[in-house]
């Protein structure tokens, strides 16, 4: 299904009934990336997915945008669906948009779950993004693959699931030589360059779960300890031997953390 946001057709999907939550995609992901989770996520919840501008089935960008724009898109979707309040789950790029949503529309947020997320795009991460952009311009799919993919997965997973990685390589090749996709990736990358909420995330009041992966080399654990230190009502959990693509490396734990944190009745325990 589609709704309009600033002239763009934005694709979204809803499955199941119950306490609603929306999941926000990582930069290279789309609503389709969550297909294997639909059965669990829609079992007792209203599970909402959305493709950001420049992602999946949503329109390519007609405007210049940043992560505040994407957060506004999420808010517009809630308005469109007449949902007062939802829990928000984000991973990486999606976690960053979730932070912008949390500080810009606090009244619309129930609980917040952040996987592999940083409070600020550091100079280091910006330069890694710059590398993605420069390599994308070669239109060489393998150059782009090697630049972006291995570092997303933990060495453990890459080794253990090498066949799967090789099949993924084959699947991604046509996409990674498609200039329309690569230009969208460039804009998405640029849209996160100005991300810096270090001075605002202390305003977040929603119960917040931060999930860090111990072999995440793009948004490493120290970045996520910053989130824990700055967000008042936050909790942190760490995943050993897991990399940046935590949802694929350890899907059962990903799903358990999301559903457990969002659905547990009490958030306060008077021990």
């Amino acid at each position: 299904m589609f709704f309009k946001f600033k002239e763009h057709n934005i694709f979204y999907d809803i499955k199941g009934k119950g306490k609603p939550f929306i999941i926000l995609n990582g930069i290279m992901m789309s609503t389709k990336s969550w297909e294997v989770f639909v059965n669990s996520f829609s079992n007792n919840n209203m599970f909402i997915r959305v493709d950001f501008i420049d992602q999946g089935q949503s329109d390519k960008a007609l405007i210049t945008y940043d992560q505040d724009t994407q957060a506004e898109l999420v808010k517009a979707l809630l308005d469109y669906l007449t949902l007062d309040k939802v829990s928000v789950v984000g991973i990486s790029y999606g976690g960053e948009v979730a932070l912008h949503f949390a500080v810009n529309y606090p009244e619309r947020l129930d609980r917040l779950v952040l996987f592999n997320t940083t409070a600020k795009t550091s100079a280091w991460l910006k330069d890694i993004g710059e590398g993605w952009i420069i390599t994308s311009r070669t239109l060489d799919p393998m150059a782009y693959y090697y630049q972006t993919i291995p570092v997303i997965y933990s060495p453990h997973f890459y080794q253990k699931r090498l066949d799967w990685m090789r099949r993924r390589e084959e699947t991604l090749k046509p996409t990674f030589s498609n200039p329309v996709f690569l230009k969208a990736m460039e804009r998405l990358t640029r849209s996160s360059e100005s991300h810096d909420l270090l001075n605002r995330i202390n305003e977040i009041v929603a119960p917040t779960l931060i999930v860090t992966a111990e072999e995440d080399y793009l948004t490493p654990t120290p970045e996520q300890k910053v989130l824990k230190d700055l967000i008042p009502n936050s909790f942190i959990v760490s995943l050993p031997k897991t990399g940046h693509a935590s949802m694929y490396e350890t899907p059962l734990i990903f799903a358990s953390l999301v559903l457990g944190f969002i659905n547990t009745k009490d958030t306060e325990y008077n021990i």
Copy 2:
């Protein structure tokens, strides 16, 4: 409510309806220790608690027992309740009993969640237990308090909740000078001395969540990585800045992990 097990009156409690799970107490705990969790745990589940032999409202031991006996007690309770299969959550001593249950009665186990648990009582841990026993014989409540309690909590929590610790000290004093309680503690401690399932936990087929706390000084993280390495279908999650008493130090995360792992519909994700 009570049922009979090998001539003992065993206290148990059931709250709520839905997928059943039973929680097994740490050595100094009882059914009462979980009171603050009842609202969340019984919300969509049948939540079962039980006092082991020598714990809480159950009878003091009439027999010599070990953790296999306590696991048999759990199985007897399921028979009594005509429950075919349950998920089992255990912490510390309770996690060890859960392991004995898992290897002895695999057909009765759905999913397994282990907090702060070890596969074997090491010489080191045995000597710490020996210290508890020797100190208990002084009948000096403060000696027993200082011997057993500070090391259970992380320094962070102890410092942050110092008032709570001080009140707890007051509450525990009468208990810690009660020879009946201290003798029961001695038997409970002794019952875990022979615990060694290193060669059997590879038989466990249930999906298993292992939760380790990074400032747990009684069952430290390396012990729990052993569980992860040996139990085939197991997953591990780590709690930064948390100690051995994880259920009190970070109750929302404790509850989220339990409910998330037990209730998530799919355990397999064909990514």
Copy 3:
């Protein structure tokens, strides 16, 4: 050899020639504890050992003292030896005295090496110390052994060197039932209760090496990250699978870190 400090006969020892450094003992240690290191430590250095008040061959306390007093003792020894400046190595209690020396006598300090040291005796650590004191009053050597010793060693080491631990137990028994030793231990424990240099260690200008052991359950890693964050010209190194008694658990690494950090010619590298 002995010198006088506030009416006490203080035992010290000097071996070797070269750049001087002094090593400050942990609470239960003495100059004798370093015997196995003498060959390496005196090879190219003037290696100085000393027994604090209430330790080893030094007099039992004639006065009430704290760790500032022990630091004054170190300074008095340097005066006595007419040594202008030395490097100081401390472990645990000795590391804390080293911190007091560093802030009180900065002009006498060359380089500083701290093993298993904390900037402040936390409420948690104070209560553990309280437990030592209460147990010591039972004059039961095994109660004191189990209270103090297992937690000093990592589970790895305790298990791997169980024979050595058992011999150590035998060696310590007479000491641990000696009321003179136990009273001295009580005073030493009390002398560290007021230790709190959180607001002063930022004054330390000496190059400082902080060594933390990942299975140290008395002065855990987070405590030592505080030292790293607060001491301006400081560096931190971490020892996996090592406990509080780092000098015995991994003596070659202990010696290498001491000698490497003290003897390396340049401390500044203009990369």
Copy 4:
């Protein structure tokens, strides 16, 4: 100075007198990279540097080679210098060559120090290397910079020394658009692809120090724990908040570990 190895002119340099050690360069490094360390390293030691085939002032490759060849080069240099035995320090590529040297010429090895080293080039690391090669062929210096450099440094260091990184970028640009350099880098990268000593490093008898950096994203800590587990007489030290380029991120600690481990007289301590 130069010596001949398989028709190549190989550049080496010697400074100082005393116990000899040789340092083996990382893949992009050369003898020049160690300039700031010369004062400390030659103070009490005979400090030997060498440029591998395809590095620095040594000849570009006339033959196909792997890391066994580079290890043979090191052995040939020792023969040429009539040095019976040396200690070997290696970082990354140089650490891998050091491992080949250790298993191929055990009688020539005194002590071994390995920084940021892996026992095997994993599929994951091989694909990262493949990315370096593909990008090098674009002859775009910034593409190569962003592909190779940010991931070498920890985010902490990159941020803190951003000015230095920017100057480095300027320095590297001409090199990174030089096809001769890039072809040499390609051959060096290929020479490490077959690296796999998992089944041989248990033969190493030399005392071995393994240094792992906690924010090393090329040879992450789990890889180095494998070295620790397999090399019999080995010891491991971990560097918090440090990345793959440990020698530049924390030079004083780098130097202290090298000199401390190589020069400490005793390697056995009979505690």
